[in-house]
Symmetry: C2
Subunit: 281 residues, 2 copies
Amino acid sequence: MKVDCEKASFEARFNLLADQRSPFCLGVDPSSSMLGSWELPDTIGGLTTFCDRLAGWIGSSLAVVKPQIAYFERFGPKGLEALVEFVHTMQEQKALVLLDAKRGDIDATNEAYGQAVFDRQTGYGVDAVTVSPYLGFDALEPLFAAAEGAQGAVFVVVASSNPEGRFLQNARTETGLTISEALADAIAERNRRGPRRCCGAVIGATRDDVGVSLVARIGEALILVPGLGAQGASYNTISMMSRPRSVIPTAARSILAQGHDRSAFVDALNVQREAAYSLRV
Amino acid sequence: MKVDCEKASFEARFNLLADQRSPFCLGVDPSSSMLGSWELPDTIGGLTTFCDRLAGWIGSSLAVVKPQIAYFERFGPKGLEALVEFVHTMQEQKALVLLDAKRGDIDATNEAYGQAVFDRQTGYGVDAVTVSPYLGFDALEPLFAAAEGAQGAVFVVVASSNPEGRFLQNARTETGLTISEALADAIAERNRRGPRRCCGAVIGATRDDVGVSLVARIGEALILVPGLGAQGASYNTISMMSRPRSVIPTAARSILAQGHDRSAFVDALNVQREAAYSLRV
Protein backbone atom coordinates (compact mmCIF):
# COMPACT_ATOMS: atom_id res chain seq x y z
CA MET A 1 0.00 0.00 0.00
CA LYS A 2 1.31 3.43 -0.97
CA VAL A 3 1.15 5.70 2.06
CA ASP A 4 2.08 9.34 2.21
CA CYS A 5 3.79 9.33 5.60
CA GLU A 6 4.22 13.08 5.66
CA LYS A 7 0.57 13.93 5.62
CA ALA A 8 -1.40 14.64 8.75
CA SER A 9 -4.20 12.55 10.21
CA PHE A 10 -7.70 12.70 8.74
CA GLU A 11 -8.87 14.57 11.81
CA ALA A 12 -6.13 17.22 11.53
CA ARG A 13 -6.74 17.68 7.81
CA PHE A 14 -10.48 17.91 8.37
CA ASN A 15 -10.12 20.52 11.10
CA LEU A 16 -7.83 22.68 8.99
CA LEU A 17 -10.12 22.56 5.96
CA ALA A 18 -13.29 22.95 8.00
CA ASP A 19 -11.98 26.20 9.48
CA GLN A 20 -10.97 27.44 6.02
CA ARG A 21 -13.99 26.24 4.02
CA SER A 22 -16.77 24.80 6.19
CA PRO A 23 -17.31 21.49 7.99
CA PHE A 24 -20.34 20.78 5.80
CA CYS A 25 -20.04 17.51 3.88
CA LEU A 26 -21.93 17.22 0.60
CA GLY A 27 -23.38 13.77 -0.04
CA VAL A 28 -22.99 12.75 -3.67
CA ASP A 29 -25.96 10.54 -4.56
CA PRO A 30 -26.33 10.23 -8.35
CA SER A 31 -29.48 8.13 -8.22
CA SER A 32 -31.61 7.45 -11.25
CA SER A 33 -34.08 10.16 -10.23
CA MET A 34 -31.30 12.64 -9.42
CA LEU A 35 -29.75 12.25 -12.87
CA GLY A 36 -33.23 12.80 -14.26
CA SER A 37 -33.68 16.04 -12.34
CA TRP A 38 -30.33 17.20 -13.74
CA GLU A 39 -31.74 16.42 -17.21
CA LEU A 40 -29.10 13.73 -17.68
CA PRO A 41 -29.64 10.21 -19.01
CA ASP A 42 -29.56 7.35 -16.50
CA THR A 43 -26.40 5.91 -18.07
CA ILE A 44 -22.70 5.79 -17.36
CA GLY A 45 -22.37 8.87 -19.60
CA GLY A 46 -24.96 10.70 -17.53
CA LEU A 47 -23.12 9.71 -14.35
CA THR A 48 -19.79 10.99 -15.68
CA THR A 49 -21.29 14.31 -16.76
CA PHE A 50 -22.96 14.63 -13.34
CA CYS A 51 -19.62 14.12 -11.56
CA ASP A 52 -17.70 16.53 -13.81
CA ARG A 53 -20.31 19.25 -13.47
CA LEU A 54 -20.61 18.77 -9.72
CA ALA A 55 -16.84 18.85 -9.15
CA GLY A 56 -16.62 22.11 -11.10
CA TRP A 57 -19.43 23.69 -9.13
CA ILE A 58 -18.00 22.59 -5.76
CA GLY A 59 -14.55 23.93 -6.62
CA SER A 60 -12.61 24.52 -3.42
CA SER A 61 -15.64 25.35 -1.30
CA LEU A 62 -15.83 22.13 0.75
CA ALA A 63 -13.62 20.31 3.24
CA VAL A 64 -15.16 16.94 2.52
CA VAL A 65 -17.50 15.22 0.08
CA LYS A 66 -19.26 11.91 0.60
CA PRO A 67 -20.00 9.86 -2.53
CA GLN A 68 -22.45 7.03 -1.88
CA ILE A 69 -20.85 4.07 -3.62
CA ALA A 70 -24.16 2.29 -4.37
CA TYR A 71 -25.03 4.95 -6.94
CA PHE A 72 -21.78 4.27 -8.78
CA GLU A 73 -21.81 0.51 -8.25
CA ARG A 74 -25.21 0.26 -9.98
CA PHE A 75 -23.26 0.76 -13.22
CA GLY A 76 -20.84 -2.03 -12.29
CA PRO A 77 -17.07 -1.71 -12.86
CA LYS A 78 -17.56 1.25 -15.23
CA GLY A 79 -19.52 3.12 -12.57
CA LEU A 80 -16.67 2.52 -10.12
CA GLU A 81 -14.18 3.87 -12.66
CA ALA A 82 -16.28 7.05 -12.64
CA LEU A 83 -16.06 7.02 -8.84
CA VAL A 84 -12.25 6.77 -8.93
CA GLU A 85 -12.15 9.70 -11.39
CA PHE A 86 -14.36 11.77 -9.11
CA VAL A 87 -12.23 10.90 -6.06
CA HIS A 88 -9.09 12.06 -7.87
CA THR A 89 -10.71 15.28 -9.02
CA MET A 90 -11.95 16.17 -5.56
CA GLN A 91 -8.59 15.36 -3.99
CA GLU A 92 -6.89 17.59 -6.56
CA GLN A 93 -9.27 20.29 -5.34
CA LYS A 94 -7.85 19.54 -1.85
CA ALA A 95 -11.13 18.16 -0.52
CA LEU A 96 -11.25 15.00 1.59
CA VAL A 97 -13.30 12.12 0.23
CA LEU A 98 -15.36 10.07 2.66
CA LEU A 99 -16.75 7.03 0.87
CA ASP A 100 -20.22 6.08 2.07
CA ALA A 101 -20.00 2.31 1.68
CA LYS A 102 -21.22 0.74 4.95
CA ARG A 103 -18.78 -2.11 4.44
CA GLY A 104 -18.31 -4.69 7.16
CA ASP A 105 -17.58 -8.41 7.39
CA ILE A 106 -15.40 -10.88 9.31
CA ASP A 107 -11.84 -9.76 10.02
CA ALA A 108 -10.07 -11.51 7.12
CA THR A 109 -12.53 -9.96 4.68
CA ASN A 110 -12.25 -6.53 6.29
CA GLU A 111 -8.53 -6.64 5.56
CA ALA A 112 -9.39 -6.85 1.85
CA TYR A 113 -11.89 -3.99 2.22
CA GLY A 114 -9.10 -1.96 3.81
CA GLN A 115 -7.10 -2.37 0.61
CA ALA A 116 -10.13 -1.58 -1.56
CA VAL A 117 -10.88 1.60 0.31
CA PHE A 118 -7.50 3.12 1.15
CA ASP A 119 -4.99 1.82 -1.41
CA ARG A 120 -4.26 4.63 -3.87
CA GLN A 121 -2.64 2.34 -6.41
CA THR A 122 -5.27 -0.33 -6.91
CA GLY A 123 -8.29 0.62 -4.76
CA TYR A 124 -10.48 3.69 -4.44
CA GLY A 125 -7.83 5.64 -2.50
CA VAL A 126 -10.28 7.65 -0.43
CA ASP A 127 -9.58 9.40 2.87
CA ALA A 128 -12.31 7.80 4.95
CA VAL A 129 -15.12 5.25 4.77
CA THR A 130 -18.34 4.40 6.57
CA VAL A 131 -18.66 0.85 7.95
CA SER A 132 -21.47 -1.29 9.35
CA PRO A 133 -20.84 -3.14 12.63
CA TYR A 134 -23.34 -6.04 12.41
CA LEU A 135 -20.54 -8.64 12.40
CA GLY A 136 -18.98 -7.01 15.45
CA PHE A 137 -16.88 -3.98 16.30
CA ASP A 138 -13.72 -6.01 16.93
CA ALA A 139 -13.99 -7.64 13.49
CA LEU A 140 -13.49 -4.14 12.02
CA GLU A 141 -9.94 -3.91 13.40
CA PRO A 142 -8.20 -4.56 10.02
CA LEU A 143 -10.08 -1.56 8.60
CA PHE A 144 -8.95 0.62 11.52
CA ALA A 145 -5.38 -0.56 10.95
CA ALA A 146 -5.61 0.23 7.23
CA ALA A 147 -6.98 3.69 8.07
CA GLU A 148 -4.08 4.31 10.46
CA GLY A 149 -1.59 3.27 7.79
CA ALA A 150 -3.16 5.63 5.27
CA GLN A 151 -3.76 8.51 7.72
CA GLY A 152 -7.43 7.94 7.03
CA ALA A 153 -10.56 7.38 9.11
CA VAL A 154 -13.32 4.84 9.53
CA PHE A 155 -16.81 6.02 10.54
CA VAL A 156 -18.80 3.29 12.29
CA VAL A 157 -22.58 3.55 11.96
CA VAL A 158 -23.76 3.88 15.56
CA ALA A 159 -27.29 5.33 15.22
CA SER A 160 -28.56 5.68 11.68
CA SER A 161 -30.77 8.51 10.48
CA ASN A 162 -33.55 6.28 9.12
CA PRO A 163 -36.34 4.97 11.37
CA GLU A 164 -36.05 1.27 10.39
CA GLY A 165 -32.81 0.63 12.26
CA ARG A 166 -33.95 1.65 15.73
CA PHE A 167 -35.32 -1.72 16.87
CA LEU A 168 -31.83 -3.11 16.38
CA GLN A 169 -29.63 -0.17 17.38
CA ASN A 170 -31.59 0.40 20.62
CA ALA A 171 -31.54 -3.29 21.62
CA ARG A 172 -29.78 -4.08 24.91
CA THR A 173 -26.60 -6.11 25.12
CA GLU A 174 -25.99 -8.37 28.09
CA THR A 175 -24.11 -5.58 29.90
CA GLY A 176 -27.29 -3.49 29.96
CA LEU A 177 -26.06 -0.95 27.43
CA THR A 178 -27.83 -0.46 24.14
CA ILE A 179 -25.95 -1.52 21.03
CA SER A 180 -25.40 2.13 20.08
CA GLU A 181 -24.01 2.88 23.54
CA ALA A 182 -21.70 -0.14 23.46
CA LEU A 183 -20.41 0.95 20.04
CA ALA A 184 -19.87 4.54 21.23
CA ASP A 185 -17.79 3.21 24.13
CA ALA A 186 -15.83 0.91 21.80
CA ILE A 187 -15.04 3.84 19.49
CA ALA A 188 -13.81 5.97 22.41
CA GLU A 189 -11.67 3.08 23.65
CA ARG A 190 -10.20 2.35 20.20
CA ASN A 191 -9.21 6.00 19.79
CA ARG A 192 -7.61 6.06 23.26
CA ARG A 193 -5.46 3.08 22.26
CA GLY A 194 -4.10 5.08 19.34
CA PRO A 195 -1.50 5.64 17.97
CA ARG A 196 -3.88 8.31 16.65
CA ARG A 197 -7.65 8.71 16.44
CA CYS A 198 -8.84 6.94 13.29
CA CYS A 199 -12.31 5.94 14.41
CA GLY A 200 -15.34 8.15 13.91
CA ALA A 201 -19.07 7.58 14.31
CA VAL A 202 -22.23 8.06 12.27
CA ILE A 203 -25.10 9.44 14.35
CA GLY A 204 -28.19 10.68 12.54
CA ALA A 205 -29.40 14.24 13.16
CA THR A 206 -32.86 12.66 13.29
CA ARG A 207 -31.85 10.66 16.38
CA ASP A 208 -32.81 13.18 19.04
CA ASP A 209 -33.84 10.14 21.12
CA VAL A 210 -30.21 9.15 21.66
CA GLY A 211 -27.90 11.62 19.91
CA VAL A 212 -26.90 13.81 22.84
CA SER A 213 -26.18 10.91 25.20
CA LEU A 214 -24.18 9.03 22.55
CA VAL A 215 -22.03 12.05 21.76
CA ALA A 216 -21.36 12.48 25.48
CA ARG A 217 -19.75 9.02 25.73
CA ILE A 218 -17.86 8.87 22.46
CA GLY A 219 -14.69 10.70 23.53
CA GLU A 220 -12.97 12.89 20.97
CA ALA A 221 -14.22 11.02 17.89
CA LEU A 222 -15.37 12.86 14.78
CA ILE A 223 -19.09 12.44 14.20
CA LEU A 224 -20.68 12.31 10.77
CA VAL A 225 -24.25 13.55 11.10
CA PRO A 226 -26.62 12.71 8.24
CA GLY A 227 -30.35 13.29 8.11
CA LEU A 228 -30.43 17.04 7.44
CA GLY A 229 -32.61 18.34 4.64
CA ALA A 230 -34.53 15.60 2.82
CA GLN A 231 -34.66 13.47 5.98
CA GLY A 232 -36.08 16.33 8.01
CA ALA A 233 -33.60 17.20 10.79
CA SER A 234 -32.16 20.67 11.45
CA TYR A 235 -28.98 22.22 12.85
CA ASN A 236 -30.81 22.76 16.13
CA THR A 237 -30.42 19.08 16.93
CA ILE A 238 -26.72 19.21 16.15
CA SER A 239 -26.09 22.30 18.23
CA MET A 240 -27.39 20.36 21.25
CA MET A 241 -24.46 17.99 20.91
CA SER A 242 -21.66 18.62 23.38
CA ARG A 243 -18.76 18.96 20.96
CA PRO A 244 -20.02 20.75 17.83
CA ARG A 245 -16.48 21.18 16.49
CA SER A 246 -16.26 17.39 16.11
CA VAL A 247 -19.40 17.28 13.99
CA ILE A 248 -19.44 16.82 10.21
CA PRO A 249 -23.01 17.68 9.12
CA THR A 250 -23.99 16.09 5.84
CA ALA A 251 -26.87 16.24 3.35
CA ALA A 252 -27.24 15.30 -0.29
CA ARG A 253 -30.65 15.29 -1.92
CA SER A 254 -31.87 18.70 -0.73
CA ILE A 255 -28.86 20.39 -2.35
CA LEU A 256 -28.33 18.18 -5.39
CA ALA A 257 -31.98 18.66 -6.34
CA GLN A 258 -30.95 22.21 -7.38
CA GLY A 259 -28.52 20.76 -9.89
CA HIS A 260 -30.24 21.90 -13.06
CA ASP A 261 -29.01 25.38 -12.28
CA ARG A 262 -25.54 26.35 -11.11
CA SER A 263 -26.47 29.43 -9.14
CA ALA A 264 -29.39 27.71 -7.37
CA PHE A 265 -27.04 24.86 -6.47
CA VAL A 266 -24.32 27.16 -5.16
CA ASP A 267 -26.87 29.18 -3.17
CA ALA A 268 -28.28 26.02 -1.57
CA LEU A 269 -24.78 24.76 -0.82
CA ASN A 270 -23.75 28.09 0.72
CA VAL A 271 -26.74 28.07 3.07
CA GLN A 272 -25.55 24.70 4.40
CA ARG A 273 -21.89 25.76 4.47
CA GLU A 274 -22.70 28.77 6.59
CA ALA A 275 -25.06 26.95 8.94
CA ALA A 276 -22.43 24.26 9.44
CA TYR A 277 -19.66 26.82 9.91
CA SER A 278 -21.58 28.47 12.72
CA LEU A 279 -21.15 25.25 14.74
CA ARG A 280 -17.40 25.93 14.90
CA VAL A 281 -17.42 29.49 16.19
CA MET B 1 -33.44 -4.18 -15.62
CA LYS B 2 -33.33 -7.20 -17.92
CA VAL B 3 -35.25 -10.05 -16.34
CA ASP B 4 -35.70 -13.52 -17.71
CA CYS B 5 -39.33 -14.06 -16.79
CA GLU B 6 -39.30 -17.67 -17.85
CA LYS B 7 -36.75 -18.82 -15.34
CA ALA B 8 -37.72 -20.33 -12.02
CA SER B 9 -37.13 -18.85 -8.59
CA PHE B 10 -33.70 -19.00 -6.97
CA GLU B 11 -35.02 -21.59 -4.53
CA ALA B 12 -36.40 -23.86 -7.29
CA ARG B 13 -33.19 -23.59 -9.31
CA PHE B 14 -31.09 -24.28 -6.22
CA ASN B 15 -33.11 -27.35 -5.28
CA LEU B 16 -32.87 -28.81 -8.77
CA LEU B 17 -29.13 -28.26 -9.00
CA ALA B 18 -28.49 -29.37 -5.43
CA ASP B 19 -30.15 -32.72 -6.12
CA GLN B 20 -28.14 -33.12 -9.33
CA ARG B 21 -24.77 -31.81 -8.14
CA SER B 22 -24.65 -31.12 -4.39
CA PRO B 23 -25.92 -28.33 -2.14
CA PHE B 24 -22.35 -27.47 -1.17
CA CYS B 25 -21.43 -23.87 -1.95
CA LEU B 26 -17.77 -23.07 -2.58
CA GLY B 27 -16.65 -19.71 -1.21
CA VAL B 28 -14.32 -17.92 -3.62
CA ASP B 29 -11.88 -15.87 -1.53
CA PRO B 30 -8.87 -14.83 -3.61
CA SER B 31 -7.05 -13.11 -0.77
CA SER B 32 -3.46 -12.01 -1.00
CA SER B 33 -2.32 -15.09 0.92
CA MET B 34 -4.55 -17.43 -1.12
CA LEU B 35 -3.06 -16.19 -4.41
CA GLY B 36 0.35 -16.77 -2.83
CA SER B 37 -0.48 -20.36 -1.93
CA TRP B 38 -1.57 -20.89 -5.56
CA GLU B 39 1.88 -19.54 -6.55
CA LEU B 40 0.21 -16.58 -8.26
CA PRO B 41 1.23 -12.93 -8.00
CA ASP B 42 -0.94 -10.65 -5.86
CA THR B 43 -2.02 -8.63 -8.89
CA ILE B 44 -5.02 -8.31 -11.15
CA GLY B 45 -3.29 -10.80 -13.46
CA GLY B 46 -2.94 -13.28 -10.60
CA LEU B 47 -6.61 -12.79 -9.73
CA THR B 48 -7.73 -13.44 -13.31
CA THR B 49 -5.62 -16.60 -13.56
CA PHE B 50 -7.01 -17.77 -10.22
CA CYS B 51 -10.59 -17.33 -11.44
CA ASP B 52 -10.00 -19.02 -14.79
CA ARG B 53 -8.25 -22.00 -13.21
CA LEU B 54 -10.89 -22.33 -10.49
CA ALA B 55 -13.81 -22.18 -12.93
CA GLY B 56 -12.20 -24.92 -15.02
CA TRP B 57 -11.64 -27.13 -12.00
CA ILE B 58 -15.20 -26.62 -10.67
CA GLY B 59 -16.73 -27.42 -14.07
CA SER B 60 -20.34 -28.48 -13.58
CA SER B 61 -19.81 -30.02 -10.13
CA LEU B 62 -21.51 -27.32 -8.02
CA ALA B 63 -24.99 -25.84 -7.67
CA VAL B 64 -23.73 -22.56 -6.30
CA VAL B 65 -20.52 -20.59 -5.78
CA LYS B 66 -20.04 -17.64 -3.45
CA PRO B 67 -17.44 -15.07 -4.50
CA GLN B 68 -16.53 -12.68 -1.69
CA ILE B 69 -16.58 -9.27 -3.39
CA ALA B 70 -13.99 -7.70 -1.04
CA TYR B 71 -11.24 -9.85 -2.58
CA PHE B 72 -12.13 -8.50 -6.02
CA GLU B 73 -12.84 -4.95 -4.89
CA ARG B 74 -9.32 -4.66 -3.44
CA PHE B 75 -8.18 -4.31 -7.06
CA GLY B 76 -10.73 -1.55 -7.67
CA PRO B 77 -12.79 -1.41 -10.89
CA LYS B 78 -10.43 -3.84 -12.65
CA GLY B 79 -10.93 -6.40 -9.89
CA LEU B 80 -14.69 -6.05 -10.31
CA GLU B 81 -14.34 -6.61 -14.06
CA ALA B 82 -12.67 -9.90 -13.15
CA LEU B 83 -15.63 -10.63 -10.88
CA VAL B 84 -18.12 -10.02 -13.69
CA GLU B 85 -16.10 -12.36 -15.94
CA PHE B 86 -16.13 -15.04 -13.26
CA VAL B 87 -19.88 -14.63 -12.72
CA HIS B 88 -20.52 -15.09 -16.44
CA THR B 89 -18.29 -18.15 -16.65
CA MET B 90 -19.96 -19.85 -13.70
CA GLN B 91 -23.44 -19.04 -15.02
CA GLU B 92 -22.45 -20.55 -18.39
CA GLN B 93 -21.53 -23.65 -16.39
CA LYS B 94 -25.12 -23.51 -15.05
CA ALA B 95 -24.07 -22.74 -11.50
CA LEU B 96 -25.83 -20.12 -9.40
CA VAL B 97 -23.73 -17.22 -8.14
CA LEU B 98 -24.33 -15.91 -4.64
CA LEU B 99 -22.36 -12.71 -4.15
CA ASP B 100 -21.04 -12.34 -0.62
CA ALA B 101 -21.24 -8.57 -0.26
CA LYS B 102 -22.98 -7.85 3.09
CA ARG B 103 -24.48 -4.73 1.53
CA GLY B 104 -27.06 -2.74 3.46
CA ASP B 105 -28.06 0.91 3.83
CA ILE B 106 -31.17 3.11 3.95
CA ASP B 107 -33.96 2.21 1.55
CA ALA B 108 -33.17 4.69 -1.26
CA THR B 109 -29.57 3.45 -1.32
CA ASN B 110 -30.63 -0.20 -1.21
CA GLU B 111 -32.59 0.41 -4.40
CA ALA B 112 -29.28 1.29 -6.09
CA TYR B 113 -27.63 -1.79 -4.60
CA GLY B 114 -30.47 -3.85 -6.06
CA GLN B 115 -29.48 -2.60 -9.51
CA ALA B 116 -25.77 -3.19 -8.82
CA VAL B 117 -26.37 -6.76 -7.73
CA PHE B 118 -29.10 -8.10 -9.99
CA ASP B 119 -28.99 -6.08 -13.22
CA ARG B 120 -27.40 -8.23 -15.91
CA GLN B 121 -26.82 -5.32 -18.28
CA THR B 122 -24.95 -2.87 -16.10
CA GLY B 123 -24.45 -4.51 -12.69
CA TYR B 124 -22.93 -7.77 -11.49
CA GLY B 125 -25.94 -9.83 -12.61
CA VAL B 126 -25.66 -12.44 -9.89
CA ASP B 127 -28.41 -14.77 -8.66
CA ALA B 128 -28.28 -13.88 -4.97
CA VAL B 129 -26.50 -11.63 -2.49
CA THR B 130 -25.77 -11.47 1.23
CA VAL B 131 -26.90 -8.33 3.08
CA SER B 132 -26.28 -6.81 6.49
CA PRO B 133 -29.28 -5.62 8.53
CA TYR B 134 -27.72 -2.98 10.82
CA LEU B 135 -29.83 -0.18 9.27
CA GLY B 136 -32.98 -2.25 9.74
CA PHE B 137 -34.72 -5.19 8.10
CA ASP B 138 -37.48 -3.05 6.60
CA ALA B 139 -34.91 -0.78 4.92
CA LEU B 140 -33.82 -3.83 2.89
CA GLU B 141 -37.19 -4.00 1.09
CA PRO B 142 -35.92 -2.51 -2.23
CA LEU B 143 -33.33 -5.31 -2.34
CA PHE B 144 -36.03 -7.93 -1.77
CA ALA B 145 -38.11 -6.33 -4.53
CA ALA B 146 -35.13 -6.35 -6.91
CA ALA B 147 -34.52 -10.02 -6.08
CA GLU B 148 -38.16 -10.85 -6.81
CA GLY B 149 -37.95 -9.06 -10.14
CA ALA B 150 -34.82 -10.99 -11.09
CA GLN B 151 -35.94 -14.35 -9.66
CA GLY B 152 -33.05 -14.00 -7.28
CA ALA B 153 -32.56 -14.18 -3.53
CA VAL B 154 -31.25 -12.04 -0.67
CA PHE B 155 -29.57 -13.73 2.30
CA VAL B 156 -29.79 -11.62 5.45
CA VAL B 157 -26.99 -12.15 7.99
CA VAL B 158 -28.85 -13.32 11.11
CA ALA B 159 -26.12 -15.01 13.19
CA SER B 160 -22.61 -14.72 11.79
CA SER B 161 -20.00 -17.45 12.08
CA ASN B 162 -17.36 -15.24 13.73
CA PRO B 163 -17.28 -14.69 17.51
CA GLU B 164 -17.09 -10.86 17.43
CA GLY B 165 -20.70 -10.31 16.35
CA ARG B 166 -22.41 -12.13 19.20
CA PHE B 167 -22.66 -9.21 21.65
CA LEU B 168 -24.74 -7.43 19.04
CA GLN B 169 -26.67 -10.30 17.44
CA ASN B 170 -27.71 -11.71 20.84
CA ALA B 171 -28.84 -8.31 22.21
CA ARG B 172 -32.52 -8.06 23.18
CA THR B 173 -34.98 -5.82 21.38
CA GLU B 174 -37.79 -4.19 23.30
CA THR B 175 -40.12 -7.12 22.48
CA GLY B 176 -37.86 -9.47 24.46
CA LEU B 177 -36.58 -11.28 21.39
CA THR B 178 -32.91 -11.25 20.50
CA ILE B 179 -31.96 -9.40 17.33
CA SER B 180 -31.28 -12.71 15.57
CA GLU B 181 -34.71 -14.04 16.60
CA ALA B 182 -36.46 -10.87 15.46
CA LEU B 183 -34.69 -11.10 12.10
CA ALA B 184 -35.60 -14.79 11.72
CA ASP B 185 -39.25 -13.90 12.31
CA ALA B 186 -39.05 -10.99 9.84
CA ILE B 187 -37.59 -13.29 7.17
CA ALA B 188 -40.36 -15.86 7.69
CA GLU B 189 -42.99 -13.10 7.49
CA ARG B 190 -41.46 -11.53 4.35
CA ASN B 191 -41.49 -14.92 2.61
CA ARG B 192 -45.10 -15.55 3.61
CA ARG B 193 -46.08 -12.22 2.01
CA GLY B 194 -44.61 -13.44 -1.28
CA PRO B 195 -45.31 -13.47 -4.18
CA ARG B 196 -42.51 -16.00 -3.82
CA ARG B 197 -39.80 -16.70 -1.25
CA CYS B 198 -36.84 -14.44 -2.02
CA CYS B 199 -35.45 -14.02 1.46
CA GLY B 200 -32.85 -16.35 2.94
CA ALA B 201 -30.71 -16.24 6.08
CA VAL B 202 -27.05 -16.58 7.00
CA ILE B 203 -26.55 -18.61 10.19
CA GLY B 204 -23.03 -19.74 11.04
CA ALA B 205 -22.38 -23.45 11.60
CA THR B 206 -20.31 -22.26 14.57
CA ARG B 207 -23.45 -20.86 16.22
CA ASP B 208 -24.55 -23.95 18.13
CA ASP B 209 -25.69 -21.51 20.83
CA VAL B 210 -28.60 -20.32 18.70
CA GLY B 211 -28.60 -22.16 15.35
CA VAL B 212 -31.25 -24.80 16.04
CA SER B 213 -33.73 -22.39 17.62
CA LEU B 214 -33.28 -19.82 14.84
CA VAL B 215 -33.86 -22.41 12.11
CA ALA B 216 -37.01 -23.53 13.91
CA ARG B 217 -38.59 -20.07 13.60
CA ILE B 218 -37.44 -19.07 10.12
CA GLY B 219 -40.18 -20.76 8.07
CA GLU B 220 -39.21 -22.21 4.72
CA ALA B 221 -36.28 -19.88 4.06
CA LEU B 222 -33.05 -21.12 2.56
CA ILE B 223 -30.17 -20.95 5.03
CA LEU B 224 -26.58 -20.26 4.02
CA VAL B 225 -24.34 -21.89 6.62
CA PRO B 226 -20.72 -20.69 6.71
CA GLY B 227 -18.10 -21.58 9.27
CA LEU B 228 -17.19 -25.10 8.13
CA GLY B 229 -13.54 -26.01 7.68
CA ALA B 230 -11.19 -23.15 8.50
CA GLN B 231 -13.63 -21.72 11.06
CA GLY B 232 -13.92 -25.06 12.82
CA ALA B 233 -17.55 -26.26 12.58
CA SER B 234 -18.68 -29.62 11.22
CA TYR B 235 -21.67 -31.13 9.45
CA ASN B 236 -22.85 -32.52 12.79
CA THR B 237 -24.03 -29.06 13.77
CA ILE B 238 -25.91 -28.67 10.50
CA SER B 239 -27.58 -32.06 10.72
CA MET B 240 -29.14 -30.91 14.02
CA MET B 241 -31.05 -28.24 12.10
CA SER B 242 -34.69 -29.10 11.50
CA ARG B 243 -34.80 -28.66 7.73
CA PRO B 244 -31.47 -29.88 6.32
CA ARG B 245 -32.78 -29.68 2.74
CA SER B 246 -33.01 -25.90 3.12
CA VAL B 247 -29.36 -25.64 4.10
CA ILE B 248 -26.58 -24.42 1.81
CA PRO B 249 -23.33 -25.37 3.58
CA THR B 250 -20.39 -23.25 2.53
CA ALA B 251 -16.62 -23.15 3.03
CA ALA B 252 -13.76 -21.51 1.17
CA ARG B 253 -10.29 -21.49 2.66
CA SER B 254 -10.05 -25.17 3.62
CA ILE B 255 -10.68 -26.22 0.01
CA LEU B 256 -9.00 -23.38 -1.89
CA ALA B 257 -5.83 -24.01 0.12
CA GLN B 258 -5.40 -27.15 -2.04
CA GLY B 259 -5.27 -24.97 -5.14
CA HIS B 260 -1.66 -25.60 -6.15
CA ASP B 261 -2.77 -29.05 -7.27
CA ARG B 262 -5.86 -29.90 -9.30
CA SER B 263 -6.43 -33.38 -7.98
CA ALA B 264 -5.95 -32.36 -4.33
CA PHE B 265 -8.44 -29.54 -4.91
CA VAL B 266 -11.00 -31.81 -6.56
CA ASP B 267 -10.59 -34.42 -3.81
CA ALA B 268 -11.13 -31.81 -1.08
CA LEU B 269 -14.13 -30.42 -2.93
CA ASN B 270 -15.65 -33.87 -3.39
CA VAL B 271 -15.40 -34.63 0.33
CA GLN B 272 -17.48 -31.50 0.99
CA ARG B 273 -19.88 -32.18 -1.88
CA GLU B 274 -20.64 -35.65 -0.55
CA ALA B 275 -20.97 -34.58 3.08
CA ALA B 276 -23.35 -31.81 2.00
CA TYR B 277 -25.30 -34.14 -0.28
CA SER B 278 -25.94 -36.51 2.60
CA LEU B 279 -28.02 -33.74 4.23
CA ARG B 280 -30.58 -34.08 1.43
CA VAL B 281 -31.20 -37.82 1.51
